[in-house]
């Protein structure tokens, strides 16, 4: 793994201020400002979509009009004007690309600044990257190798063209279009995202990875990801995000749907480091994401791992519906909120099948004036005999102006199931801090070290490629919170 050293070095270079604040100058094609039925049709026709998908979008749009923005989360932000957002912006249409050399050099430069050297990555430990640049995928690597195994890994817009049956069958099957306000909005206006299909009995030979990047000013990003893993198959999917510095808030309302069949396993990892706004909370991304996995098959397994350090406001609950008998759901999360960030994040584990198991480990860190909330639900339905859940959520407070909140819901409807929940909130132990200081670390380094220790249980779930980056990120996110 020599080549990863470069990634590590790049990450090391990331200094105290938010380094990803630059704007790539690309000509882009925009839909008119605002949202109405015509915009939905415009997006659909831009993507050359079949009629059923347009109808589906329009139906979602109509549902969205009747819905209300959820207000139960412990986050506070000015009302979003949904008519003041561009719902479609894409880098100018280009002929199909055959290799990375054909990609706009501006684009490549952006990724280099981010510390993700594409060319190195191609040779790197088997990471195929599906680049999403402002809602449109421009290049996909390693597709050939994946195709040999029968794995489909492509932008969802392409999957609509080439594999309409699969898309039609599964889109909206985990998260119905009217599931919630933002999911309905996404269903109406999603522009692109990833599509993964792993056929029966295939262990995906490499980690699949997509780097999202919000670029165009005022362009809401509405990604839609759909991952289907057939019997006895396995896939690990990485999602990482950074965004340029902007003064205006940007909305990001993605939908991610996972489907796991008998004995299938999906591992979904996220490192989210979008622009959190400046020290006073000006600017920053609104991250309102709906993620849900459906363990449809017996003995299937879905595992969510997330490291959330960015975004001004996070509203995100990656969930598992454990439908198949003996299926397993996991949720590992680190959420860091500093300065004026607000995070309301957690998970839902819905146990339907027999002997289903779920584990929730959530570590929340609040610093500065930030508010960090864990909100989770564990529901054991009537037939989930022998189901088992263990939840642990710990919060760490750094500074006396921040808040840490825990809001778990437990609904148990079957006696043979067992649900355990524990939560703690405390500040960094004086003893630990003293110990580190005594050994010559400064307060900031010591804090970073202790916090990383606090998060260890989650970090060890991350794939290698992410673990290093994530550790650094936590340190960077907490800069300026002590002393």
């Amino acid at each position: 793994m020599v080549a990863t050293q470069e990634t590590i070095n790049k990450v090391n270079e990331v200094g105290s201020a938010y380094k990803y604040g630059f704007v790539t100058d690309l000509e882009s094609e925009k839909a008119p400002l605002g949202l109405n039925e015509d915009i939905v049709k415009f997006i659909s026709s831009k993507k050359n979509e079949p009629k059923w998908l347009l109808d589906w979008r329009l139906k979602a749009y109509k549902k969205w009009l009747t819905m209300k923005e959820p207000d139960w989360a412990m986050v506070d932000f000015p009302k979003i004007n949904f008519q003041d957002i561009y719902y479609y912006s894409a880098p100018k249409a280009k002929p199909k690309l055959n290799s990375l050399d054909e990609v706009d050099p501006e684009l490549l430069k952006t990724y280099e600044k981010l510390g993700i050297p594409i060319k190195e990555q191609e040779m790197l430990a088997g990471v195929a990257v599906d680049y999403v640049f402002d809602s449109v995928s421009v290049a996909t690597t390693f597709r050939d190798k994946l195709a040999k195994e029968g794995i489909i890994f492509c932008p969802i817009s392409e999957a609509v063209q080439n594999h309409p049956d699969l898309v039609k069958k599964y889109i909206g099957s985990v998260i119905p279009m009217n599931d919630n306000y933002y999911a309905a909005l996404n269903s109406a206006v999603f522009t692109d995202g990833s599509f993964v299909y792993v056929p029966k009995g295939v262990k995906c030979p490499m980690e699949l990875s997509t780097y999202f990047r919000i670029n165009e000013q005022n362009s809401g990003q509405f990604e839609r990801t759909l991952i289907i893993v057939e019997d006895n198959s396995y896939v690990s999917y990485l999602e990482g995000c950074t965004a340029p510095q902007r003064d205006e808030n940007q909305l990001h309302a993605a939908v991610v749907e996972l489907v796991a069949m008998d004995d299938a396993e999906i591992k979904y990892s996220t490192v989210q480091n979008w622009y959190p706004g400046d020290k006073d909370g000006k600017g920053g991304i609104y991250n309102f994401v709906t993620k849900r996995g459906n363990c449809l098959g017996n003995r299937s397994k879905i595992s969510w791992t997330q490291v959330e350090t960015g975004s001004a406001i996070t509203w995100k609950y990656p969930s598992c519906v454990l439908r198949g008998d003996n299926s397993v759901g996991e949720f590992y999360s680190v959420a860091v909120a500093n300065n004026s960030q607000q995070a309301d994040t957690g998970t839902k584990m819905i146990h339907i099948g027999k002997n289903t198991k779920s584990t929730i480990i959530s570590k929340g860190i609040s610093a500065g004036k930030a508010q960090n909330t864990y909100r989770g639900q564990v529901q054991i339905q009537k037939n989930a005999k022998g189901a088992r859940n263990f939840t642990q959520c710990d919060s760490l407070l750094i500074g006396d102006k921040c808040g840490a909140h825990t809001v778990p819901y437990i609904n148990q409807h079957t006696p043979s199931a067992r649900v355990e929940h524990e939560a703690t909130t405390s500040k960094i132990s004086e003893d630990q801090l003293f110990y580190c200081l005594q050994r010559g670390l400064d307060t900031e380094q010591a804090t970073s070290l202790i916090v990383n220790g606090f998060c260890k249980e989650v970090m060890k779930e991350l794939p290698m490629e992410f673990a290093v980056e994530a550790q650094k990120l936590i340190g960077i996110s907490l800069e300026g919170s002590v002393g």
Binding site: W72, M74, I380, S395, L397, I398, G399, D400, K401, C402, G403, A404, H405, T406, V407, P408, Y409, I410, N411, Q412, H413, T414, P415, S416, A417, R418, V419, E420, H421, E422, A423, T424, T425, S426, K427
Partner: protein, 423 residues
């Protein structure tokens, strides 16, 4: 949604107060009683009152018939009786020295109302309906420095079909006083809406036991507001076993430094009972301690709810807040819901909560089985142990047997369906 439906009961409460003066506390309270809590409202999501709005209920009239006095297990000799929500001096015994009991006059009642309105009970249906319709607000007060050794019993009885009763009690412990009370709710009738304000001044301490044992047709929506001062102490224990639907909601404000609160509870539910223990503890100042242990045993088709919130204000440093809830399901159709919630704005705190829901431990059952104890008997032993544990921790020793017997009687009625050879 309920709030747009013209509701019988709400109309009759409003009729009840319509002839009072506009400045009367009854009217001031009643004007806020416009609807039952919406099921979409977060704290009422799990305990829905929809069926109440479909019932024909009226506030009980003052000349309502009196109940045939049930023989209650009297533990002590000092008894205070509330019949149909009204304090009955003629049935109550003399009070020990240092304790006084009065009915508040109009201006005192307005002050009482404003205290309730300043708390998070302000929109609670029992707060508004009971202040509108109560016969009187009764204040039980303990003098400064008075240490009352004798146990005080308060019995709430009465109630008739299709009517609501509204006992309103204000318990005040002045500086450095102490008191032990045991309250029992044994109503029949449709709707019981007890409202209580408990104020514990500096250095005062209160031991309080509540037994909710109303008849199985009734709804009991008890609401309590607790205000604690510097170095005050409250040991509170509630046993919920009666009613078809009981929700005991408590808001405790720790407003003086070094206050200590133990807020424990047990619910034992069977048949189609619904029992809800909802608490909120507000740590508003430094160095207060709150501890909470809740246990539930659920049989039949019952549902249990525990919602416990601990909120720590920004300056409430050195707070210690602990909470533990456990529920055991002993029948296939029972269900349990828990929502232990932490809301923390201060950094130098130690707060934790834990919640478990499940059935009896297999290993423990096996252990007893292997020693020749039948499966049913083993289950019974384990359930008893589960409750005995918390009872002995939260109740004074002299009352152990009494409370345990109360719990046992509820247990036997729910277990006889589940365990064949119930002993």
């Amino acid at each position: 949604m309920l709030h747009n439906i013209k509701d019988n009961y709400i109309t009759s409460v409003n009729n009840y107060i319509k002839n009072f003066d506009d400045k009367s506390f009854r009217k001031l309270a009643g004007k806020d009683f416009k609807s039952w809590p919406d099921p979409l409202e977060e704290t009422w999501r799990l305990s829905r009152l929809g069926s109440l709005s479909r019932k024909k209920i009226e506030p009980i009239s003052l000349d309502a018939q009196e109940p045939i006095m049930s023989k209650l297990n009297v533990v002590g000799s000092n008894t205070i009786k509330f019949i149909n929500g009204a304090f009955r001096k003629d049935m109550s015994s003399n009070l020990p020295k240092g304790v006084s009991l009065i009915e508040l006059n109009e201006s005192e009642s307005v002050t009482f109302l404003s205290k309730i309105k300043n708390s998070n009970l302000k929109n609670h249906p029992s707060a508004n309906a009971s202040l509108s319709c109560t016969p009187s607000i009764v204040k039980l007060s303990v003098d400064k420095n008075a240490k009352i050794e004798e146990l005080l019993e308060i019995h709430f009885e009465g109630g008739v079909e299709s009517s609501s009763v509204h006992p309103v009690l204000f318990v005040e412990l002045n500086e450095n006083s102490s008191l032990s009370i045991i309250e029992r709710f044994n109503h029949t009738g449709s709707l019981i809406m007890p409202l209580q304000l408990i104020e514990i001044k500096d250095y005062a301490s209160l031991n309080s036991i509540k037994v909710f044992d109303d008849s199985h047709e009734s709804y009991n929506l008890a609401a309590h507001c607790i205000i604690m001062s510097h170095k005050s102490l409250l040991n509170s224990f509630s046993l919920i076993k009666g009613s078809q639907f009981t929700r005991s909601e408590t808001h405790a404000y720790l407003n003086g430094t070094n206050a200590k609160l133990n807020l424990n509870g047990v619910y034992i539910s069977g048949n189609k009972q619904h029992h809800d223990l909802t608490t909120a503890i507000y740590h508003n100042v430094e160095e207060c301690i709150s501890k909470q242990i809740v246990r539930g045993v659920l049989g039949g088709e019952s549902t249990g709810v525990f919602q416990g919130k601990v909120k720590v204000a920004p300056n409430a440093q050195k707070t210690d807040g602990q909470q533990m809830s456990k529920a055991i399901l002993i029948s296939d159709k029972a269900s349990a819901n828990a929502k232990p919630e932490l809301e923390i704005y201060a950094d130098d705190v130690v707060c934790a909560h834990g919640a478990t829901v499940g059935e009896l431990d297999d290993d423990q059952l096996f252990y007893l089985n292997s020693r020749g104890i039948s499966k049913d008997k083993a289950r019974l032993i384990l359930i008893k142990a589960f409750l005995l544990d918390i009872i002995s921790e939260s109740v004074e020793e002299t009352l152990h047997d009494f409370i345990f017997n109360e719990a046992q009687s509820a247990l036997s009625s729910i277990l006889k369906n589940e365990i064949e050879e119930f002993v």
